[in-house]
C-alpha cells in the first residue's frame, strides 16, 4: 500500500538520507529506528508531502496520508470535543460515531467538555492521537507518538493502532524509541545515512 523507492531527502540544503526503499502492505506497520539526527523526522515529513524529495518516489493512495508529531494542533480555547470535531469536519467526516469511538478508545470520554488548555501534557498527547481516529486516513506517518504518555496510555494507543487502524487495512510508519508492543518490522536508518561528500542538496551547486 505504501511503496518507497530510492528516496533521498535533505535537511537545510544538505542530503541526510539516500536510497531508502521499503514496502508496507495494508494492515502492517513499520518502525523507524536510528540515533538522533539521522533523519527520521525528515523522512516522515518528506513522505507526508510536507517537503520535496531530492530523488526517488513515494507511492500511496491519494488523499490518504496523515502526519502527526509532537505539535498536536490542539487549541487551548476549544473543548476536547470541539477540537476533534474540527479535524473530522476538515476531513469531511461529520459522522458522530467515529468521534465517540475515538474518545472512548483514548479514554477521553470523561474529559470531553474540558478546554484544551486545561489538559495535562499526557492528556493533550492522547487528544492529539485521537485526532488520527477521527480523520479516517489510512496512511499514517507518526513522529514519536508516545512522548509524554504513561505506560497505560501507550497501551491504549498500541491497542487502537493494532485493533482499529491496522485491522481496518491501514498502514503506519512510526519513528519511536520505545517498544510499542505491536508486531511490526523495524527499519534501522543508519545504513542509509548520506555521505557528507556525496552532495545532493542545494549546497551541492556551491561546492
Amino acid at each position: 500500500m505504501l511503496t518507497v523507492t530510492d528516496l533521498c531527502c535533505a535537511r537545510g540544503g544538505l542530503a541526510v538520507l539516500t536510497d531508502v526503499s521499503f514496502d508496507v502492505d495494508a494492515g502492517k506497520a513499520l518502525i523507524l529506528r536510528g540515533p538522533n539526527g539521522i533523519g527520521k523526522t525528515t523522512l516522515l515529513r518528506t513522505m507526508a508531502g510536507l517537503q520535496p524529495a531530492l530523488a526517488g518516489s513515494i507511492t500511496y493512495p491519494e488523499d490518504e496520508a496523515a502526519y502527526a508529531s509532537h505539535a498536536d494542533g490542539i487549541k487551548s480555547a476549544l473543548t476536547v470535543t470541539e477540537n476533534l470535531k474540527f479535524w473530522a469536519d476538515v476531513h469531511g467526516l461529520s459522522d458522530p460515531t467515529g468521534l465517540e469511538t475515538a474518545l472512548e478508545r483514548f479514554d477521553l470520554t470523561d474529559l470531553r467538555e474540558r478546554l484544551g488548555g486545561t489538559l495535562s501534557a499526557g492528556q493533550k498527547r492522547r487528544l492529539g492521537l485521537a485526532r488520527l481516529g477521527v480523520i479516517g486516513r489510512k496512511v499514517l506517518f507518526l513522529d514519536e507518538p508516545t512522548v509524554s504518555l504513561d505506560g497505560f496510555s501507550v497501551k491504549l494507543f498500541a491497542d487502537w493502532l493494532q485493533n482499529n487502524h491496522l485491522a481496518g487495512g491501514g498502514v503506519a510508519v512510526i519513528a519511536t524509541h520505545i517498544d510499542l508492543g505491536i508486531d511490526a518490522p523495524e527499519l534501522d536508518l543508519t545504513p542509509f545515512k548520506a555521505d557528507p561528500n556525496a552532495g545532493g542538496g542545494s549546497d551541492e551547486a556551491f561546492l
Binding site: 537545510g12 540544503g13 557528507p196 561528500n197 542545494s202 556551491f206 561546492l207
Partner: protein, 244 residues
C-alpha cells in the same frame, strides 16, 4: 551548449572575474566623459540656468532605480521557475544598488526642485512613486536579512518581488489619481519633437550608458560576494555533517 550553463556558481565565478575590471573601466570612462561634458561643456538652459545640469545625475539614477527592480523581478522569476542559485543571489545583490539609485534620484530631484518649483518635496505623482519604490526596496531587503535558510529566503523574497511588482504598478497609477503634479513629462521619448535639445541629449546618453555599466559591474561584484558567502556556508555545513 546552453546559455544556462553560465549560471552555474563555479562557472559564474570563472567568467565574471576577468570581465569585471573592464566593466568598471568602461563605466568610469563613460561617467567621466558624460559628467564632465554635461557639467562644463553644455550651455545653460535659457529658463533654468545652470540648475538644469543636475539632469546628468538625476535622470540616469531614476532610470536605474526602476530598471534595477525590473532586473530583480526577472531574476526572481528565473530562480522561481528554473532554480538557478546565482539568479536568486543576483536579485539579492541588486536590491541595495537599486535602493541607492532611488535615493540619488530623490535627493537630486529635491536639489533641483528647490530653485525651480520653490520646494524640496511635493506629493507629486512621480516623486511619490519613487518614495513608494524606496519602501519596496526596504521591505525586500529586510525580508532577505530576516531569514536564515538561504533557499527559503530566495523563495520567499522572489514571491514578494513578484507580488510587490504588481502592487508597485498599482501604486504608480493610484498616485496619478490625485491629478497631474509639478514634475515635467518624460524628457526622453522616441518622438523627436518632445526631446530635449541635442546639446543636452548626447552627454545625457553617455551618462546613462555609464550608469547602466556601473550598475552591471556593481551587481556582478556583489553577486560574487554572495556566491562566496554561500560557498562558505556550504563548506561549513559539510564540515559539520562530517563531524557529526
Amino acid at each position: 551548449m546552453s546559455i544556462w550553463k553560465y549560471a552555474n556558481p563555479t562557472k559564474f565565478m570563472g567568467w565574471t572575474a576577468p570581465v569585471l575590471p573592464w566593466l568598471f573601466g568602461l563605466a568610469a570612462l563613460c561617467l567621466g566623459v558624460g559628467l564632465v561634458w554635461g557639467f562644463f561643456f553644455t550651455p545653460d538652459d535659457f529658463r533654468q540656468g545652470a540648475t538644469v545640469k543636475i539632469i546628468y545625475l538625476h535622470v540616469p539614477a531614476a532610470l536605474m532605480a526602476i530598471n534595477a527592480w525590473i532586473m530583480m523581478l526577472v531574476a526572481s522569476l528565473i530562480w522561481y521557475i528554473r532554480r538557478h542559485h546565482v539568479s536568486a543571489l543576483a536579485a539579492r545583490a541588486a536590491a541595495p544598488i537599486g535602493m541607492v539609485m532611488t535615493l540619488i534620484a530623490l535627493f537630486t530631484g529635491a536639489i533641483w526642485g528647490k530653485p525651480i518649483w520653490g520646494t524640496y518635496w511635493e506629493f507629486d505623482p512621480r516623486l511619490t512613486s519613487f518614495l513608494i519604490l524606496f519602501l519596496f526596496y526596504l521591505g525586500y531587503m529586510a525580508l532577505w536579512e530576516a531569514i536564515e535558510d538561504p533557499d527559503t529566503a530566495a523563495d520567499l523574497t522572489s514571491v514578494l518581488c513578484m507580488v510587490g511588482s504588481i502592487f508597485a504598478i498599482l501604486s504608480r497609477y493610484a498616485v496619478l489619481f490625485w491629478g497631474q503634479g509639478l514634475h515635467q513629462g518624460a524628457s526622453l521619448s522616441l518622438d523627436k519633437e518632445e526631446n530635449v535639445a541635442d546639446v543636452f541629449w548626447v552627454p545625457l546618453l553617455v551618462c546613462m550608458a555609464g550608469f547602466v555599466l556601473l550598475f552591471i559591474a556593481l551587481v556582478l561584484m556583489r553577486t560574487r560576494t554572495e556566491v562566496r558567502a554561500r560557498q562558505i556556508r556550504a563548506l561549513e555545513n559539510r564540515a559539520r555533517a562530517q563531524n557529526a
